[in-house]
Amino acid sequence: MNKRKIIRTLGYIILTLGFLMIPSLIVSAIYQDGDSFEIGSTIAGTLVLGFLMSRVKAPEMKMRSRDGYTIVALAWLIICLIGAIPMYLSGVFESYIGAFFEMVSGFTTTGASVLSNPEYLPHGVGFWRCFSHWVGGMGVLVFVMMVAPMNNENSMHLVKAEVPGPTAGKLVPRMKETSMINYGIYAFLTLMCFILLLIGKVPVYDALCLSFGTAGTGGFSPSSVGFAAYNSYYVEMVVSVFMILFGVNFNVYFLILIKKVKDAFRIEEVWWYFGFIAFSTITIMANIMHTLPSAGQAFRYSFFQVASIITTTGFATVDFNQWPEYSKHVLILLMIVGACSGSTGGGMKVCRVVMVVKSFFTELKHIMDPRHISIVRLDGKKVEKETLIATRVYVCTYFLIICIVTLLISLNNQDFTTNLTAVLSCFNNIGPGFSAIGPMSNFSVYDDWVQLLLSLTMLTGRLEIFPMFMIFSRSSHEKRLSL
């Protein structure tokens, strides 16, 4: 594809980003704590840049799958780079890389922070940090596609690259409408969460930040005290339930919306997802019971933590670093499993786990008798061979990347648990890890270069590996790409 076209498309994305920063400016204007100029000037610069780029004349050309992946990867890099500017300018971060890490962590809905005291952030920047969760959760490109006057013919490639899960589909014939329906459901659920938090007497600013963090399954808290500040069973339950709701495949909500409840209940992945949650909650509850005064308390902590980790949100109400080993191991496994495909959560995705387990059993049958024809079924339908192969490759690459990145960051001389869980946490877009980066500490233990590497790991995890590698693959630098 023509480079001009890529620039033009990126222009629209940057322009949209500029508009998306306006709410932060408003918040900053309301609280008046001195970051209005930083945000305002970034917005102005972004809008001008975006406008100029979107004016680039590009010939009409078909968008190919590869172009879609390249655009998505570049777009995510650029919005994180731009989004980090007001953060850096606010002066709270030691370096631009730290701010970039924070911004990537925001847009990829990871929620890992290098700040020990996020409450020192001015309100405008703090709001922007949490709002990025909300934008990144559903997908930046999906949002752009909804609002920008772009040629929608080949937009499927963009969506495929951005929407998590092994298969991406449309709900309605038009991509634009599909995006609108998804964002509609997303916004409605976020609003519900916000209202319920307000009822629980959470301050407005905190309620906003928390509901963005919950909706995008991000995990930034507005303050380092976290949920202890509210000390409310109710608030924790609301957040737990909404985290789980946002980790459900959004197709379920769409099917319920168009009154096909039966079909909604037929989505197998969601049942497995609930099964994982129930199993983990109960066993962790039993495991931590003896350290706590009551079973109710044990349920409160285990349910919240399981919901937070499996949906890859990463909120913490308790220092689970202190929990018994079994509970910690369950949480690590949940980190890998992740939420449902087509949700705002990250991780490997429940349906991939289910598919891999099922293909193990079919392989077993095949080995017992090579003549045996066995089929992997999901939702009662046959899973196509291509999808299965892609899933297996994805899962293998997934673990390979975790190994390599863990090896690389070990040069920074942290212990194994810290390194492994840091990579798992970033790659699966969770937030906290164990040991030195537990829920009560942060990623500032790592040097700048590790933070940069982990930022890229987060992006790779959020975009599900392939788009990020597409930037570096040789075929996208073919000669015909030249201006």
Partner: protein, 468 residues
């Protein structure tokens, strides 16, 4: 002049089913028109049977008008293509054909057959594969039988079974059968040494006889117990060939929690059927070689072998191999007119044919059209032993006049029934009655008559003419 002579039947498609229908209908006296695109087929038919043939597309109005569809009583579309069958029937319906019958083989279409009959005005949709699969299903439910048919919406069952060694019936006559053994079934025909006969009360059951029994479906298991026949529930079935019949059959069996293994040589077909029927175990292999590779215990645990490939010879050989290996129940799909059917006699192999199922259905419909204006219309017709034995179901209307139809309200023992006929069952108020001497035929009954002679249209035809 026969009543059939007024009835004009138009058949589109001169394939296997079309041909066999044309032959049977024209034999029974109907005026048959056949339309097919292939000149060769058309010539072939017009040379062999007393029918008129047109060459052309059965969905073209021009061809249909030429063939005089407007005045046709029955229009039957049995070409190889479902879509063409439906389209032909729609066109014929618009042109004025009274009743239209379409063969539909695609499962996606046949599940919506109600839609076609209600919205499109088609009279009857039939799916020979599905019918054949249902017939095999009935055999699986009653594995001792070589043939099982249902009458009158499942209220009455007809079972053909062989008298084997150890059967306590050997040596008893038909009076003993009902009185001594107290079996609530009726023996309506006996096949002895290849000869079919309608038995009289004094006939004695011998070893090797094939009995045709009728009764309510529930009474059979009890009766078999009294006859000292061990019936075995079919728990594990092996099917050879992923044909359409196999698909219907496998899904029906899997639904009843029977363990089904299907063997198909073609990998693509094997994958397809494995996809379509969840819970089915599919092997991609040649059925014979798979059979050879099975361990003795695996063979022992297989209760039934059903061979449904497109190759009749292969089906039969495979079935014979199964018989050799002592598999309890063997069913083989054979073409209706195949001489291979002869090979199944005196073996435990039962054969099922799609064409038979289709022809039975249409013949019974054709007969009911002819008799529609009478009090006692034929509702269904079933044939056994390659059509030598027929079962005809009559429906008596409620306003039938006992003064005209003298057989009404009289004990059966007082009726003079021609020797080649037998009243095999009466269905009254949705329950089946085994007709004994004291039972009476009442208005509103369904009466099932068993016969070796074909040409009756009304119930009164079975009684001796009254001497004036």
């Amino acid at each position: 002049m026969n009543k059939e002579d007024h009835v004009k039947v138009c058949i589109v498609g001169a394939g296997k089913v079309g041909k066999s229908l044309a032959a049977q209908l024209s034999d029974s006296g109907y005026k048959v028109t056949v339309i097919d695109t292939s000149l060769e087929q058309v010539n072939n038919i017009s040379n062999s049977y007393d029918v008129i043939c047109y060459q052309g597309n059965g969905a073209s109005t021009e061809v249909l008008e030429d063939a005089g569809v407007a005045s046709a009583e029955i229009f039957i579309a049995v070409t190889g293509s479902d879509e063409l069958n439906i389209l032909s029937c729609l066109t014929a319906h618009e042109l004025g054909a009274k009743s239209t019958i379409a063969r539909i083989r695609n499962a996606e279409y046949s599940v919506q057959s109600d839609f076609y009959t209600e919205r499109f005005g088609l009279t009857l949709i039939f799916n020979p594969d599905y019918n054949a699969a249902s017939e095999i299903m009935r055999l699986m439910h009653l594995p001792i039988a070589t043939k099982v048919e249902l009458f009158a919406h499942g209220k009455c069952q007809l079972v053909e079974m062989k008298v084997e060694e150890g059967n306590s019936l050997i040596g008893s006559n038909l009076i003993d059968f009902s009185q001594k053994h107290n079996i609530d079934l009726l023996i309506c025909a006996i096949v002895r040494k290849g000869q079919i006969m309608i038995p009289t009360a004094q006939d004695v059951i011998q070893l090797g006889d094939v009995l045709c029994l009728t009764g309510s479906p529930a009474s059979f298991n009890d009766a078999f117990l009294k006859m000292n026949i061990k019936t075995k529930r079919i728990k594990s079935v092996m099917i050879a060939g992923a044909s359409r019949i196999a698909r219907y059959l496998a899904s029906a069996l899997v639904k009843e929690h029977v363990k089904v293994t299907l063997i198909e040589r073609d990998h693509t077909k094997a994958v397809k059927i494995a996809d379509e029927v969840p819970g089915l175990s599919v092997m991609c292999s040649d059925a014979m070689s798979y059979f050879e590779s099975m361990s003795d215990s695996d063979v022992k645990n297989t209760d039934a072998l059903i061979t449904l490939t497109n190759n009749d010879e292969y089906n039969l050989i495979c079935g014979m191999l199964g018989e050799r290996k002592n598999i309890y129940r063997i069913v083989t799909k054979l073409n209706a007119d195949s001489t291979l059917n002869e090979m199944c006699h005196n073996t435990r192999i039962s054969s099922v044919s799609k064409e038979d199922c289709a022809a039975d259905m249409i013949m019974s419909y054709a007969k009911s059209v002819v008799a529609a204006e009478d009090y006692d219309a034929i509702r269904a017709l079933y044939r056994l032993m390659n059509g030598k034995l027929e079962f005809i179901e009559f429906k008596l209307s409620l306003d039938i006049d006992p003064a005209v139809e003298t057989y009404i309200n009289k004990p059966i023992r007082n009726l003079k029934i021609k020797p080649e006929f037998l009243i095999a069952g009466i269905i009254r108020d949705r329950a089946s009655i085994m007709p004994r001497g004291n039972d009476e035929i009442l208005p509103g009954d369904y009466v099932i008559v068993c016969t070796v002679s074909k040409s009756i249209l009304q119930l009164k035809d079975i009684f001796e003419e009254k001497k004036a």
